[in-house]
């Protein structure tokens, strides 16, 4: 595949320079200026060219809940949002806790052919938190799983968490923890605070996240392994990670776009589109998360893209499903939260959304920067454009975006995967995959 060459003209890089770039066999073959025409040529009109975004936290729902999303529709949503790599969370039906299931998801990603789909393996069998899944078998499968998570559930048993952290050291794996003490969050519906007290909804206190983060940081230090904290939401959690990093402990953390922009005040009105786990927090937490992302305490942005069919949100708050769509709005939400507020520049954004996540998960063909020899996994952004989110015009199969009708900054114009254009100006270009 990928034979022939293509020239991308007038690309603006994050340092402001304008370059041309030649892609050959899926790799960046040459970078220059006023490059000679020949074969296919695309004028990027001085739009920003960045490495394709990398998501370490995506719910693709296949196998099992194809009514809400499939690997193919999630891939289409991904490239629409400028992503070239996804990480498929393990809470499918069946659970991705065996080599067979992770290989199936990996192959579905290749068949879709729009971006890379890297499966995340379950830490425990059936996500039940009782016994380790066959982590080695998943690591040695063709999916080459390195990141493991029971996301949606916390690995609450401290001994099991210790064992998992130790066990994955043999293949440089990493445990991604959904930090939620289950006993402190029985039937929890939203952030515990002033709003939950008024609405009469059972609270999900910040301490339930922070207690697990603190414990797991100490465990990771004790056994000398790698810990990744999923979707950090609390100011206290940011402090814990900051202190751990200062002590040299090998911990990384992610924040979702929605936790950078939305607060628990939105729950007033009981619209379940704002129901998510972990929950939307307070404005003070949002501020701490933004500061943490800007100063590097929080390493990356991850979407926690969680599609749900209409009927699972068109109901009472208490019975509604947790989760929000994220892939197609992530970049613009982060721009609105971090760049429009002057807390970060584009170089930092590219680090947090592409370079750093690829490094944490070991995705060597992604997040490589615009350099000769790198895989041509790229996104083109119109940084000055503003768009209005319309939930009825999403590539995802589901409609549960909390950003419906919001005006957001920056538009993804094009996405390239292994040198092929897979998204152009609102349209997913289906190349048929492998």
């Amino acid at each position: 595949m990928n034979e022939g060459s293509m020239i991308l003209k007038s690309a603006r890089l994050v340092d402001g320079s304008i370059i041309d770039l030649r892609i050959e066999n899926g790799l960046i073959a040459e970078i220059g200026t006023a490059m000679a025409q020949g074969g296919t040529s695309i004028d990027l009109e001085k739009n920003l060219l960045i490495p394709g975004l990398v998501d370490l936290h995506t719910h693709l729902r296949e196998p099992g809940r194809e009514d809400s999303e499939t690997v193919a529709t999630a891939s289409a949503a991904a490239v629409t949002g400028g992503y070239t790599a996804l990480s498929a969370m393990a809470n499918t039906f069946p659970v991705a806790d065996t080599a067979g299931v992770v290989e199936q998801v990996f192959r579905l990603g290749q068949e879709a052919g729009l971006c890379d789909v890297f499966p995340i393996g379950a830490v425990t069998q059936g996500l039940n938190g009782v016994a380790l899944a066959e982590l080695g078998a998943m690591a040695n499968s063709i999916a080459r799983v390195r990141m493991f998570s029971d996301d949606g559930k916390c690995v609450a048993d401290p001994l099991l968490m210790r064992r998992a952290l130790e066990y994955v050291k043999s293949f440089n794996g990493i445990i991604a923890q959904h930090a939620q003490d289950p006993r402190l969050t029985v039937n929890a519906q939203m952030n515990e605070g002033i709003v939950s007290g008024k609405l009469g909804l059972t609270g999900w206190p910040a301490v339930a996240e922070e207690a697990i983060i603190a414990r797991d940081i100490l465990l990771a230090e004790h056994v000398g392994s790698r810990l990744h904290i999923c979707h950090l939401t609390t100011a206290g959690g940011v402090e814990l990670v900051r202190a751990a990093k200062a002590r040299g402990i090998n911990v990384t953390a992610e924040v979702t776009p929605h936790h950078l922009l939305l607060t628990d005040e939105l729950v007033v009105g009981y619209n379940p589109v704002y129901k998510v786990n972990p929950p939307l927090r307070t404005a003070q937490d949002v501020e701490a998360l933004r500061t943490g992302l800007a100063d590097g305490t929080i390493d990356i942005v991850a979407t926690d893209h969680a599609p749900h069919p209409t009927e699972d949100k068109d109901c009472e708050w208490q019975v509604a499903a947790f989760g929000m769509l994220g892939l197609e709005t992530a970049l613009s939400v982060v721009v609105s939260a971090m760049i429009d507020t002057k807390m970060m520049d584009w170089a930092k954004l590219v680090d947090r959304m592409s370079i750093a996540p690829a490094k944490i998960a070991g995705y060597s063909a992604h997040g490589q920067g615009i350099a000769v020899g790198s895989a041509a996994n790229l996104a083109v952004i119109d940084t000055s454009a503003v768009w209005q989110v319309d939930r009825n015009r999403l590539a995802s199969k589901s409609r549960n975006t909390p950003f419906h009708q919001m005006n957001l900054s920056a538009v993804v114009k094009r996405t390239f995967f292994n040198g092929l254009q897979v998204f152009n100006d609102g349209e997913v270009l289906n190349r048929g995959g492998k």
């Binding site: 519906q189 009469g200 206190p205 009105g269 009981y270 208490q318």
Partner: protein
Amino acid sequence: MDRHLLSINDLTRAEAFGILNTAHELSIISDGTLKKLPTLRGRTVVNLFFEDSTRTRISFESAAKRLSADVINFSAKGSSVSKGESLKDTAQTLQAMGADAVIIRHGASGAAQRLADSGWIQASVINAGDGTHEHPTQALLDAYTIRNSFPEYTDSFEGLRVAIVGDILHSRVARSNVLLLKKLGAQVTLLAPPTLLPVGVDSWGVGTSYQFDEVIPKVDVVMMLRVQSERMLDSFFPSEREYSRSFGLDSRRLDLLPPRSIVMHPGPMNRGLEISAESADSHKSVVLAQVANGVLIRMAVLYQLLGGQTLGDTSSVQPITQVANK
């Protein structure tokens, strides 16, 4: 407040007093020979009850019937709801049947608001208790009952001291009462073990205390809340006896109350737990008056919502005595 009554927040102070005034007018008629008014003839009122509550249901049913409305009782138990039918489908079914008002009791906080906001149904929605959120007609009937006992507070509750005692955390009655009593001007103190006070209660604009004996000589109204004994299993308090000793209204505490004060309880009471039999049956107890007033308040709410009048805007409401004489 226009079409629905979902929360006390939907009402202004004037509108709230307007409902109390309408209920008072209705009480004058009810004391006479006329039991039934023709106001809502031809209108359909649905009691949509997802939780068992015979008392609240018959109170609303009685109110609607005294206004000559057709009443449909839709109980979730034994209905299609227990077969997995969603709130949305149920609402759309009621819409197709031509319901003018839906009175909803639901175990999920916010269910009444979802019903009103989601475009599933055009009817007026009255919240008859949603989870641990609100129960606005209970608060209105409580305020009405208080006013009957204290005529000096007819136009304002400024200076009135109310203690609400018990499981504030899980109580929709407490939430609606706090909002309404504050709106009317009363000074509210919440009494509960710290485990049963919500996080953020400091922002409610009320006092809190853990010491019943210190508060009780200084209140005009003591409102006892039902305590579910299953809270004990979740370690909100160690035992029923310990709860009762600290927060129960027994004879000794009854004697500590100022002479003119009243004892309230939304029912059903756990005699011997949050309230002793002596207190429940004492001359200070207005528990049965609360029940009777419930029908009047619900008539007033239905009258104003379905009579095409803004709730509480009594200036534009046709005098009830005229309606009755037609």
